[in-house]
Symmetry: C2
DNA sequence: ACAAAAGTGTTTGGAATACACCCATGC
DNA sequence: GCATGGGTGTATTCCAAACACTTTTGT
């Protein structure tokens, strides 16, 4: 412990940011967890997070955490809830509240970050019991993601371009935990007008070759101005 | 200033909760503002809010603020964003972050709270320039409310029961800032099955008498289990 | 009588759904 | 040749949207 240099008339909570990093492995949604190297909860898995610095916004803090673990600077990132249970974490003699974000990244672009901490991807249904109240944070993050995807096609943030229609379908199925009819999914997506179909195709192992698509952000912005909702 | 009794190794931000209280006057959405009696921004209007106590959750804090201003204990209340710009408010030498909630109340049930602070309802389009970053908070709150209402019929929280179909329609129009066809709105609402039509009618001044409805929470819970979305 | 708002039902078009067969590839 | 998954179109159903007239009451 260093010296206690900061003095207040009233007690102040600690403020941290935590970042739930979602990736997609082609079949399932995954989250990136790090193994805690220090007490409390040493050896258990948790989301990347840390104390908010005095000169940064929570968003900047969450981006910093994301960068440290993945090397990514520009992923989609979204605040979804602030957790304030007085009992959720007591360190330093003060309670700790956390401003939680979720990030959507392309797994293939993730480098092991600089951080010495051991990081590992876990499919959502294989996530172990987590440190602090991070089980709850994960539930809320998943819920927020599902809700958000009805308003914005944020799924694209999880897929490296170009992608096949089947990959996109698997992604939506993984996020929403449902099954779609291939033809209907394809029709609906194309009708939205936010996909570019490329000339090239991809050779799939043991399968027919598949068309490739990219996301068309211009059309999407236009669509969003008018206010739309993706229906599934 | 009292003495500075609380000491930390690192600087901690102050944490407040603010509560955007929405009401409905039959035509427009309103928000309840209080006039600040102290610096900074003395004399300007702001949302009720205050420092988070060490033993309470942010939700409890927001409910406390709500109660102090309205006398209401059990209104619908929902966290929607945490504002963390380091420049948004600097008092006490520390930055202040705020966990913001919105509450939906029945205006007719609101008593002037105990609080000495001057409180007043403002229609959304008549809200003056607010203290701190509360203009931004209001924009975000309105946005969050509009989004939420697609998933849950939270509009009912704003209407005293029983209500007429026209009142309900005016409410939705005010929240979403659109106009609906009376017949279509009525059909859609009734088809959801979450309204009870009462025997009684209400005599409207200069008008035909109108049927009265109440909200049916059982049917609503059932519906919500299955996962639905209100489409407008 | 007339102004103001409430109640009510039908038609039409578009979207969502359900559904089945052929194709290309690797083994 | 067969197993696997990819591509494609149609028929039906349902829901959303558009639309107008009558009733009641107060002035």
């Amino acid at each position: 412990m260093g010296e206690l240099k900061y003095h207040y008339e009233y007690p102040h909570p600690c403020v941290t940011t935590d970042c739930v990093i979602f990736g997609f492995d082609g079949t399932r949604l995954n989250v990136l967890l790090i193994e805690r190297g220090v007490e409390p909860f040493k050896g258990q898995w948790a989301f990347p997070g840390g104390f908010l610095k005095m000169a940064e916004t929570a968003l900047e803090g969450a981006k910093r955490e994301l960068f440290e673990e993945t090397g990514l600077k520009d992923a989609y990132i979204q605040q979804f809830h602030t957790f304030t249970d007085p009992q959720r974490d007591i360190r330093d003699g003060a309670r700790v509240i956390t401003i939680a974000y979720y990030a959507l990244v392309k797994k293939s672009e993730v480098m092991g970050g600089d951080d010495a901490a051991k990081a590992q991807w876990f499919p959502l249904d294989k996530v172990p019991s987590l440190a602090f109240d991070h089980d709850k944070i994960l539930r809320e993050a998943t819920h927020a993601l599902r809700r958000q995807i009805h308003f914005e096609p944020i799924g694209f943030e999880l897929l490296p371009e170009p992608f096949t229609m089947t990959e996109l379908q698997r992604l939506y199925e993984a996020i929403l935990n449902v099954k779609f009819d291939r033809r209907n999914f394809c029709n609906k997506m194309l009708k939205l007008g936010i996909l570019n179909q490329l000339e090239e195709t991809r050779l799939m192992p043991n399968k027919k070759e598949a068309f490739l698509y990219t996301f068309n952000p211009e059309n999407y912005s236009e669509l969003k101005e008018k206010g739309f909702r993706l229906e599934f």
